[in-house]
């Protein structure tokens, strides 16, 4: 597989299917793992980092679920390719910086990715469409079991999996759920919800993880605690919280429909109108408007636009995706033109 092959392909998690997919975009589990007796990436020398890349890629080739995966050495990729992988959520923004002796492994269908030499030697992640953390855990757990037979993980019975940062020690697990909460934002209840989430020791982030702003009504919620609870307990805790947020968003949507249907319909259709006719559009405006038509589609106000097409547009309108589609470097102004053209073509076809 080449990077360009990913371009014509929809990631599994964008399919817009799965439980509660009107509100939940995707569910993600990541496991932090390190190899025994080798310093963590920030403290390792170049030879040790290369040893990690070699050891991990050799092991991965023997794991059945990862057999058809592709390893990308980051130092060999140009900046657009790296950003492209970040936009597809296959690796973190941090991983794309200082790329010597780092790699990312991407499975077929882009379901599983393994970042090698990010903050930890391995960051195994799996994304699923919809509200599906347990299914994600079952698959990633099997992959981790297979890897554990081939790799000597840094582990202590009392502290669990040992990670570079003590905030990940224990299970090394972070479960995240990406939510689309336009009604809670519009009804100004979101602050209250986010404050409650923070009190329960969960974190909220934007579309692209740590340090990114929540935009276009998208919120990624994940556990902070990774030690002292089993993996199943951690997932059950996140699920409990997510179920409550889904309920609140559903209620907020119902209230908006009953009290201000016309205003909502107007806003959603204006958003669609702009997307169908704009000639110049920034990525920030795109995300905000797409969020509205996604809500319109979920509420049955807009017919004939598949959720999957909206989901895809969130990703294909990002800067690196536009440049890959055009196969050349584009200035910010050129991107705004091309972005508008891409959206018009997609939405006017329907």
């Amino acid at each position: 597989m080449q990077i360009n092959d990913l371009l014509n392909h929809t990631s599994e998690w964008l399919k817009g299917t799965g439980p509660n997919s009107d509100i939940v975009i995707s569910s993600r589990i990541r496991l932090a793992r390190n190899l025994n007796k080798i310093p963590f990436p920030h403290w390792a020398d170049k030879g040790q980092l290369d040893e990690v890349v070699n050891t991990v890629s050799a092991a991965v080739a023997k794991v059945s679920l990862l057999k058809k995966s592709t390893l990308f050495e980051l130092a060999k990729l140009d900046s657009i390719d790296k950003q492209f992988l970040v936009e597809r959520h296959l690796m973190s923004i941090e991983h794309a910086q200082k790329t010597e002796h780092k790699a990312v492994l991407v499975s077929e269908e882009e379901i599983i990715s393994v970042m090698i030499n990010e903050e930890d030697h391995l960051r195994i992640q799996l994304m699923q469409s919809g509200f599906n953390l347990f299914e994600a855990w079952n698959i990633i757990n099997a992959v981790d079991d297979d890897l554990a037979k081939l790799l000597d993980y840094a582990f202590l019975p009392d502290f669990g999996y040992l990670t570079a940062c003590p905030t990940n020690t224990g299970t090394g697990m972070r479960g995240s759920v990406m939510l689309h909460l336009p009604a809670l934002v519009m009804s100004r209840q979101i602050e209250r919800v986010l404050a409650a989430i923070a009190k329960l020791s969960f974190t909220t982030r934007g579309l692209y993880g740590e340090g990114t702003q929540a935009s276009g009504n998208f919120f990624q919620i994940s556990n902070q605690v990774s030690l002292g609870h089993s993996e199943n307990e951690i997932i059950e805790n996140i699920n409990g919280l997510i179920r409550q947020i889904i309920e609140q968003e559903t209620q907020a949507r119902e209230i908006m429909l009953s009290k201000s249907k016309e205003v909502l319909e107007d806003r959603i259709n204006r958003s669609l109108g702009i997307l169908k006719s704009a000639r110049i559009i920034t990525s920030q405006e795109t995300i905000e408007l797409l969020s509205m038509i996604r809500l319109g589609s979920d509420l049955g106000m807009i017919r004939g636009i598949d959720r999957r097409i909206i989901n895809e547009l969130f990703i294909t309108t990002q800067p690196a995706h536009l440049q890959k589609l055009e196969n050349k470097k584009l200035s910010s102004q050129d991107r705004d033109l091309k972005r508008a053209e891409l959206i018009r073509n997609k939405l006017n076809l329907i």
């Binding site: 963590f40 037979k149 030690l227 002292g228």
Partner: protein
Amino acid sequence: MLCDICGKNPATVHLTEIIDEQMNELHLCEDCARNKSAAMEQQFGLSDLLAGMADFGKPSAAEKEEAVNAKCPACGLTYADFKKVGRLGCGECYNAFRGYLAPLLKRIHGSNQHIGKNPSKVKTSSRMYKKKTNLEDLRNQLQQAIQKEAFEEAARLRDMIKEIERKKES
């Protein structure tokens, strides 16, 4: 007095900023002060937070001194390095700094006892199983001996582990 930032509202918050030894006094209105403190919080990263946490609960100066000088025998990272960068150097650091990390982990996670999956149990099906558990058991016994301060017993166990590991490698 009006706010130094917006120049519109009366200044009710008085702030002294020290940047690179330059002292700077700011008189701000409530809104501008709030924005300013949000910006300051962003600069205050996770490593600062961890480093700060690592300091709590270690009151005596002698203990602090000892903590700063503690060094991981495997990778050479000192506890002072950890406090600076917020990252440990290798898996062995968790043993080397056990006394300081156990309370730190408890503050971060509310617990310092792992009850999730265990990679050695996964290996049940492999042929290496017996040898692995043996080594694992010895390591557990070693930990217990250290905790009980039974150092002779610990030294004996450590030598046994080293012997097994040496055989495995050769």
